[in-house]
């Protein structure tokens, strides 16, 4: 895996590509309406009903079957709250509605990642500097080596294990991401700043732990162990699922990685091409797209981060047609196939680079 080659498109073609992508965007954004906000409210209702149902089954259910059903319902609620609701609302996809409950800058979700820190690490850093090595901190999450350009260190022998740990505790990985521990260790961040970020993160972790591992188990009285285990498993399922979807969005084979110096004079058209080449899609049905928060349309999401996500399936064929026209690679495949290439990359870069004969 090496850096993206400069595009073979001429400047005029890039400009034309930009115009065509903008036109696709306008085609949707100029026609947002009741159906969009109804979809989001519907998702919120489903998530709430699922949470109430799941917790009720865990608290009052009898036997292992109701426990499993409770775990699945609660996991479903958490996944929806995370992906289709939280992630999309916090991108500002519903700011146009003027509904304070859907305001990107004040929304807070049920996950160990503080909303404000997420808005910074994700909306600002990742979406602006997507796949620029050294700038996009989502590239390997400062934990995994995903490309030749990252220097191999002995700790990378443990990369498969680190990957598994990250998958199981994904919400803590995401939550601690904006701490930028590496920068702090290298002295690039003042201690006070780091302390403030750490406090914010720990407070949020405290809140979700208090809720899932103290308050609700305590309310369940003698069923406390059942509820505690159920909440833990629901969180675990959510962690694994979000990890799976997100890793398939940027770490599949064929995703381009950029050098900072190559992106300094980017036009909007260049930015579109970088977003397109740096993302990969997953194929599936409507339910699968919803459960992935429509991050199965990672390409469309990176082109139009503030477009209501349930519109991505509608624009995807247009983007795909545009890619054919301009000879750009539209990276898509099944979850199984895409994740296999992610694992291949993780394992490949576990090994130190072969010495190149001089």
């Amino acid at each position: 895996m090496s850096f993206a080659k400069p595009t073979t498109l001429s400047r005029e073609q890039v400009a034309e590509f930009e115009r065509e992508v903008n036109a696709i965007r306008d085609g949707v954004m100029n026609h947002l309406g009741q159906a969009d906000v109804d979809h989001m409210r519907n998702m919120i209702h489903v998530s709430r009903a699922s949470e109430i149902g799941g917790r009720a089954l865990l608290h009052f259910g009898l036997g292992p079957l109701s426990w499993v059903a409770g775990v699945l319902a609660l996991a479903n609620a958490k996944i929806l709250d995370n992906m289709e609701i939280g992630h999309n609302v916090m991108h500002g996809q519903y700011d146009w509605t003027g509904d304070p409950a859907l305001n990107s800058q004040t929304f807070e979700w049920d996950i160990a990642c503080d909303g404000e820190q997420w808005r910074h690490s994700h909306n600002v850093t990742h979406h602006t500097y997507t796949n620029i090595l050294g700038k996009d901190r989502d590239l390997g999450y400062s934990l995994l080596r995903m490309t030749d350009e990252q220097k191999w260190k002995p700790r990378h022998w443990f990369q498969p294990l680190a990957n598994l740990m990250l998958a199981m505790g994904f919400q803590y990985g995401v939550g601690s991401h904006d701490l930028e521990i590496g920068r702090y260790k290298h002295g690039a961040m003042p201690k006070a700043e780091f302390k403030a970020r750490l406090d914010r993160f720990l407070t949020k972790v405290g809140k979700v732990w208090f809720k899932d591992y103290l308050l609700f188990p305590a309310l369940a009285l003698w069923s406390a162990p059942r509820v505690l285990a159920g909440n833990f498993c629901a969180n675990l399922i959510r962690n694994l699922w979000t990890y799976l979807i997100i890793f398939c969005g940027h770490f599949t084979e064929g995703v381009a990685i950029y050098r900072e110096e190559d992106t300094r004079k980017e036009t909007r058209g260049d930015w579109y091409i970088r977003q397109l080449s740096g993302s990969s899609n997953l194929t599936g049905g409507r339910l699968f797209h919803i459960m992935s928060g429509h991050l199965s349309h990672q390409i469309e999401h990176h082109l139009f981060p503030d477009m209501p996500a349930h519109r991505y399936p509608e624009v995807a064929p247009q983007i795909q047609a545009l890619c054919r026209k301009y000879g750009l690679f539209y990276n898509t495949g099944s979850l199984f196939r895409q994740y296999a290439t992610v694992m291949k990359r993780i394992l490949t870069y576990t090994l130190p680079p072969k010495r190149v004969p001089v």
């Binding site: 500002g92 509904d99 800058q105 809140k207 208090f210």
Partner: protein, 385 residues
């Protein structure tokens, strides 16, 4: 947006609070409950919006944070004017005659707000707003064409300083034109309700008898309320209303404390006459201005940007976006990507016209969310930073 000319201090009257049992209970319980639900640790367990939705599902008027009102009756006043009689929930704190409410609605997924004067008598069981249908008016058309009995509207508490004092003057003129009749109608009802013993002239200007809003009610009040002299000036038949006509109709104008509401042109003419004649009696007016599309200046024309809290005002230079302009003026607004992606710099533009630098679109909508990094001021702008 209505706005009034006299300073608030002249008009201090205690807000007439409805204090029956259930309301008192609701208010006593409500504030601490909302404060508790807004606590970040409680919010992380159950969101206030979830509680509100659950309450609304139980009963559409139930809310901890919003005044909601059910439409109990819709009266046709004229061919283009309807009165919506509303039953508010327990959060409603009451109003003084002359005040207005902001009515909030969701139309095609977007929240929109408009201000309407209350025409009902303060302290009455129901509220009433009277709305003229504007052919281009998003909200007035929605109210006229879609809203029916049984629907629930979200409204603000009563707002505005256009009201009458506790100690009423001996002679009063209530002067209105067109749909400006609504707040002075509330005042007239209030005077009748307070058994006003002085002398009141109610002078209204409209085109023709078919355009007279509240025709029936005015006739009824005139029959019961001996202190009232009711004058309607029909401009189609009697000619355009002028200050001279006013002086003719109301010879003792100089002694009458006057409350006035109507189109801007009408009120400007009356106010100019008032000052030119040096009339001693106070003149209070309520100005209703529909959200105007402010004329946009050419690219690069310096314009004034001010912050809503009054902490800073600066003049723009060149065509850079507002974020750069604010930073150049020594401010440091929150920001992130600076290219319109992350929305960190999003804030409310209270008034003014801005151009979206990504789409070239101009917008003058008041109280709208804008991203500073991709917005250029095209008129004087007020930001809630």
């Amino acid at each position: 947006m209505p706005h009034t000319s006299p300073p608030a201090t002249q008009l201090q009257t205690p807000v007439a609070l409805r204090r029956d049992g259930i309301v008192r209970l609701a208010h006593g319980v409500n504030a601490p409950l909302v404060a508790a639900l807004r606590h970040p640790w409680v919010e992380s367990i159950v969101r206030l919006s979830a509680v509100e939705d659950a309450l609304a599902a139980l009963h559409p008027l139930l809310s901890l944070t919003q005044v909601r009102a059910r439409v109990v009756r819709v009266n046709d006043e004229t061919a283009s004017t309807k009165t919506f009689v509303l039953q508010p929930n327990a959060l409603w704190l009451g109003a003084q005659a002359g005040q207005y409410v902001r009515v909030q609605m969701e139309i095609a997924g977007r929240r929109v707000e408009r201000s309407y004067s209350l025409s009902s008598r303060p302290g009455s069981r129901h509220l009433a707003i009277t709305v003229k249908r504007q052919d281009q008016g998003l909200v007035s058309r929605h109210l006229h064409d879609k809203v029916k009995v049984g629907d629930v509207l979200t409204i603000s508490q009563a707002l505005g300083e256009f009201s009458m004092p506790v100690d009423l003057p001996g002679k009063i003129l209530l002067l209105s034109a067109g749909s400006g009749i609504t707040p002075v109608m509330a005042m007239l009802r209030d005077l009748q309700g307070r058994r006003y013993q002085g002398d009141v002239v109610f002078l209204h200007v409209c085109h023709m008898p078919d355009d007279l809003i509240f025709a029936r009610q005015l006739a009824a009040i005139a029959g019961e309320f001996a202190e009232l002299s009711l004058v309607v000036h029909y401009s189609t038949a009697e000619g355009r209303f002028s200050p001279e006509a006013l002086a003719l109709e109301v010879p003792d104008l100089a002694q009458r404390s006057t409350w006035m509401c109507g189109p801007i042109g009408f009120m400007d003419v009356v106010a100019a006459y008032w000052h030119a004649q040096g009339l001693a009696a106070p003149l209070f007016s309520e100005r209703f201005v529909a959200a105007p599309l402010l004329p946009s200046t050419a690219h690069g024309t310096p314009v004034q940007v001010s912050l809503l809290n009054g902490s800073a005002t600066f003049t723009t230079q060149g065509t850079e976006p507002l974020l750069v302009q604010a930073e150049r003026a020594g401010l440091s607004p929150k920001h992130g990507c600076r290219i319109g992606i992350c929305r960190s710099c999003q804030c409310v533009k209270t008034s003014g016209t801005v151009e979206n630098l990504q789409t070239g679109e101009l917008s003058s909508t008041p109280n709208e969310l804008i991203r500073l990094c991709v917005s250029m001021a095209r008129s004087d702008v007020v930001l809630a930073l």
